[in-house]
Amino acid sequence: MLQGIFIIFLFQLIGEMVQKYFALTVPGPVIGLVLLLLTLLLLDRFGAAVKARFEPGIATTSTTLLGHLPLLFVPIGVGVVMHISVLEDQLLAVLAVIFVGTVASIGFSALLMQKLQRRGAGHD
């Protein structure tokens, strides 16, 4: 477990450093995610022994952290509730835009994805 925590922190650290060094708009943890994924995929091909050594730790840490992922958004969500008044008289209109826009986007993307997957499956 401790080894897994170390590896995940290390990849986040590398991600943050890459982000700062190249002044990227993509956040450091997302870069860390991509780097860890690439490392795992590469080890699959070229370093199965190394991967077998580290995989259980990463698996345990990852499962533990992701098991309660929504909890991690509570502190920042409270900040939104406490600061939402900055929108003043435009609050309702903004909420309407967000609500309709989000529901429409989810519907559009899900139907498109489903259609493309079915067509893809038909070709195979």
């Binding site: 922190f9 708009t25 958004f73 509570v74 993307s109």
Partner: protein, 242 residues
């Protein structure tokens, strides 16, 4: 010293320490989770929304500044970074399924991200919102750090974008499942993908807590749409002369 003074002193001590705020945050979330399970998984009563409401009510009742709360709760907030990196593992495990859907994933992320930006612009114009609010709204579908960066580049208000982004995530998490059931989308990969694309980390968290395949596709969508949105929003602002 009276009992009341004693209690007050204890309270003064506790609110300066992280323990109280961490306990409150976890307790509020667990209470939210309990209500959510009891109410037959009613969308608006999801653990994250209820947890936020419970903590906010406590802060407002006791007149506690957000900054004081966050000074303690930031230890939970900190875990968001490592949790994001951790998503690499379930994605790695489902890599074969993701590669098999590569074409559908790339097409959907491109068209879906552009759709999210344009529908936001159309709705914002409909309500004739002020220009800086419109600009702050455009990148709202993607994870807060990207959305704030884009907002700054195009002349929006990054802190307002942060608030809008979180609200987007909560709405996606609360109403995504309902929308998808209504549209009869049954494939877990398509369901998760749409939620991650339109409501980033909060939507992904919700998808991940219900189904691993949905969670993995949400995470992939969140990452890719973040990149597409960062590139496309400035272009759309330029082309539409927003």
């Amino acid at each position: 010293m009276t009992d009341q003074q004693r209690l007050y002193e204890i309270w003064v001590y506790l609110q300066a320490e992280p323990l109280f705020w961490l306990t409150l945050t976890i307790g509020a979330y667990l209470a939210g989770d309990f209500v959510y399970r009891r109410t037959g998984l009613f969308p608006l009563f999801n653990p994250v929304a209820l947890g936020i409401v419970i903590v906010s009510v406590v802060l407002l009742l006791f007149g506690v500044q957000y900054e004081r709360y966050f000074a303690g709760a930031k230890f939970i907030h900190f875990l968001l970074g490592p949790a994001t990196v951790s998503l690499a593992f379930p994605i790695y495990r489902k890599w074969a399924l993701i590669s098999a859907n590569a074409w559908a994933i790339l097409t959907t992320v491109l068209l879906g991200s552009v759709f999210a930006i344009l529908v936001t612009y159309a709705l914002a114009s409909l309500f004739s919102l002020e220009r800086d609010i419109v600009l702050s709204l455009l990148p709202r579908s993607v994870t807060a750090p990207i959305a704030m960066g884009v907002s700054e580049i195009i002349g929006g208000i990054p802190s307002l974008t942060a608030i809008i982004t979180i609200v987007t995530g909560i709405i996606g998490a609360a109403f995504g499942t309902f929308t998808l059931d209504l549209l009869r989308v049954r494939e877990m990969s398509a369901r998760g993908f749409a939620i991650g694309l339109a409501s980033h980390g909060i939507g992904t968290a919700r998808a991940m807590s219900r189904n691993e395949t949905a969670g993995v596709f949400a995470a992939v969508a969140m990452g890719l749409s973040g990149i597409v949105t960062a590139l496309v929003v400035p272009l759309i602002v330029y082309l539409l002369r927003v």
